[in-house]
Amino acid sequence: MNNLTSITTDFTHGHQAHKNPWLKSVRDAARSRLKGLKLPTQKTEDWKYLKLEKLLVNEQLEAQSVRELHAKSADDIDKLLAQSLISGLDGYRLVFVNGVFVSKLSHINSTPYSVLFSEANPAQQALIVAHLDTSHNYYNDYFSSLNSAQLEDGLLIHIPQDCIVDKPFYIVNLTIGERPKANMMRLLIIAERGSKATLIEHEDAPLKHAGMVNTVIECFVNDKAHLIHNRIQLDESVTSLCSHRVKQGRSSIYQQHQISLASKLKRNDITVSLQGEYGRTDIRGTFCARHQQTIDTHTCTEHIAPNCSSNEVFRGLVDNQANAVFNGRIHIHPNAQKTLAELSNKNLLLSDLATINTKPELEIYADDVKCSHGATVGQIDSESLFYLQSRGIPRGEAKRLLSLAFIAEVVDQLGENSVRDFVTQRLSSLFTSLQYEGAN
């Protein structure tokens, strides 16, 4: 095995000196949790389709420090950034490289309501400590505990009550440099009562360098708040684990759009808990895996309060020998009467050797609810394929068009035009290079 165990041991003993001593309580709590945790194996239900030990060989789970980043030339980063940004997006840009904030590339001074943990004032510090790791039950969450145990810095976006933010927050997270240490991203979003904001998270690896990202995102969408969260993961060379937790208050709306390209290993855990009445959750996602890539999406919608609704749609494209996993759980607690919950996962297998394991789960403890869930796995429709071919479009190109059409339902609903165009263009070029060997 690799050095995972030794890293964990180091943290549990707390030998390392850290910045921001006020975060010590968060780190300490995570360390004590880690004492009881091991790297998940295939015997763990939530991880049964992944050979984690194999997939994580040579991966770095130790956090990159600020000092190491500064050794790199900033000019290089400037150039990389220019070619990887979403052009035409008018937003409050916040750029991280290997998990470390780069102020000269960001609009930190003009960006409202945002602060790095390391620059937080005492009131913000108190807010951060009060919220971190409180959105979710992390009793067996190994990787997010690893993130918390090494927590040095992070980004807080705190939208005040009744504030409607004029522009989206554009958060860029780039991985560059050959095998940098792990990028431990940490985002804390607090949308106060009645506020509205849009978040665009963009993860990329412009030089296709290998790397490791271990992200924890926590969103608190308070009463009557509305948060739109677009997450675009285009870093195909990066091994990525993400724990994404959302806690919603009364009459709040949380809308997520997720576009994810797979990599050697990409795992997304999305947990939303509807804790106040009349909350609404809307999640739309797509995942695309090719070659020998792996992508695993686990979602869990916790309906705790009554009269809430959730709608989740995921589309998967799996080609070559890639392996995809989708597990969507809806958990309706005894008190959550009049819940309306829907979940759909449709997948397209583009090759005989591609694999998808999909499992929608409903767990209902209330008696007056309306729920539906479904999953399908299919192949490209031969009638459609022939129709396109009969118009002179080569088979490979026809498959590309039909693959993109399959996920169009999700991509087309990205609210910002510039983001949608950017994603469409990246996906088009991705599918141009798809190899359709063995596809039928």
């Binding site: 429709d381 031969s382 009638e383 459609s384 022939f386 129709y387 396109l388 071919q389 009969s390 118009r391 002179g392 479009i393 080569p394 088979r395 190109e397 026809a398 068009l401 039909l402 993109l404 059409a405 399959f406 996920i407 169009a408 339902e409």
Partner: protein, 257 residues
């Protein structure tokens, strides 16, 4: 242009075409009529190269090439166009994207200069107007939510855009009201030229009232059992296919045109 010699074909293991012969010269319009199940659609699908429609014997020479050895896309690039009996709906692929890709593929193959975006849009709008389709439809998914008539008009619109050498129309007239039928016929007539040929597969005389064929063939049980001029269609309309039964035996060796 097209010469089919002694073609036999199986669909799902069942022999449908049993030694079919036909020759189509440039500029000619041929109508193929015949009762249900006689093999009309099989013929058009074999020509276009659909999977599961396998020629088991015989030859098809199109523009000097062995058609059966070509992939469907290459047949289209060589100039064959099939107007589908049941055009498929493809949500998520816009008509615009589809037509543009198709035209680019054909023009590249045929060494023609590619159209600019502006030229393409102008052409597309023009052809839409010819078949009475609102240009808004270009933004919609291919055939998505189209009525039966709109689907057929869309087939003709594509045909007008792609300017094929040989147009196969597989029951394009069925299910059309009289106005739509006229639009379809106008589209066909607009394309008629000394270099371009048509094979119209139809059940009815109606379409032939608007598009005058040079030859009419009757297909029955996988063979051409009778051929003639446009007057044959009128005769069929009047008498049905029953009167042919007696003549079938004499023309057991397939006719040549």
């Amino acid at each position: 242009m097209l010469k089919i010699t002694n073609l036999t074909a199986k669909v799902y293991g069942k022999e449908i075409l049993k030694g079919l012969n036909i020759e189509v010269k440039p500029g000619e319009v041929h109508a193929i009529m015949g009762p249900n199940g006689s093999g009309k659609s099989t013929l058009s699908n074999v020509l276009a190269g659909r999977d599961k429609y396998a020629a088991t014997d015989g030859r098809i020479i199109f523009a000097g090439k062995d058609l059966l050895s070509l992939e469907p896309e290459d047949r289209a690039r060589e100039g064959i166009f099939l107007a589908f009996q049941y055009p498929v709906e493809i949500p998520g692929v816009s008509n615009l994207e589809f037509l543009k890709t198709s035209l680019e593929c054909l023009h590249t193959y045929q060494n023609k200069p590619l159209l600019s975006a502006v030229e393409f849009m102008k052409l597309a709008r023009e052809k839409c107007a010819l078949v009475d389709l609102n240009t808004d439809f270009l933004k919609r998914g291919v055939n998505e939510g189209f009525s039966g008539g709109e689907k057929k008009r869309n087939e003709i619109m594509q045909m007008l855009m792609l300017e094929p050498k040989l147009c196969l129309l597989d029951e394009t007239d069925s299910g059309l009201d009289i106005d739509a039928l006229k639009v379809v016929a106008d589209g066909i007539n607009a394309l008629r030229s000394p270099e371009r040929s048509f094979i119209l597969i139809t059940h009815y005389q109606r379409l032939l009232d608007y598009v005058q064929p040079d030859f009419v063939h009757v297909l029955a049980d996988g063979q051409i059992v009778k051929s003639g001029g446009s007057e044959l269609a009128l005769e069929l309309e009047e008498k049905g296919y029953g009167w042919l039964d007696s003549g079938t035996e004499q023309s057991a060796s397939p006719l040549k045109v």
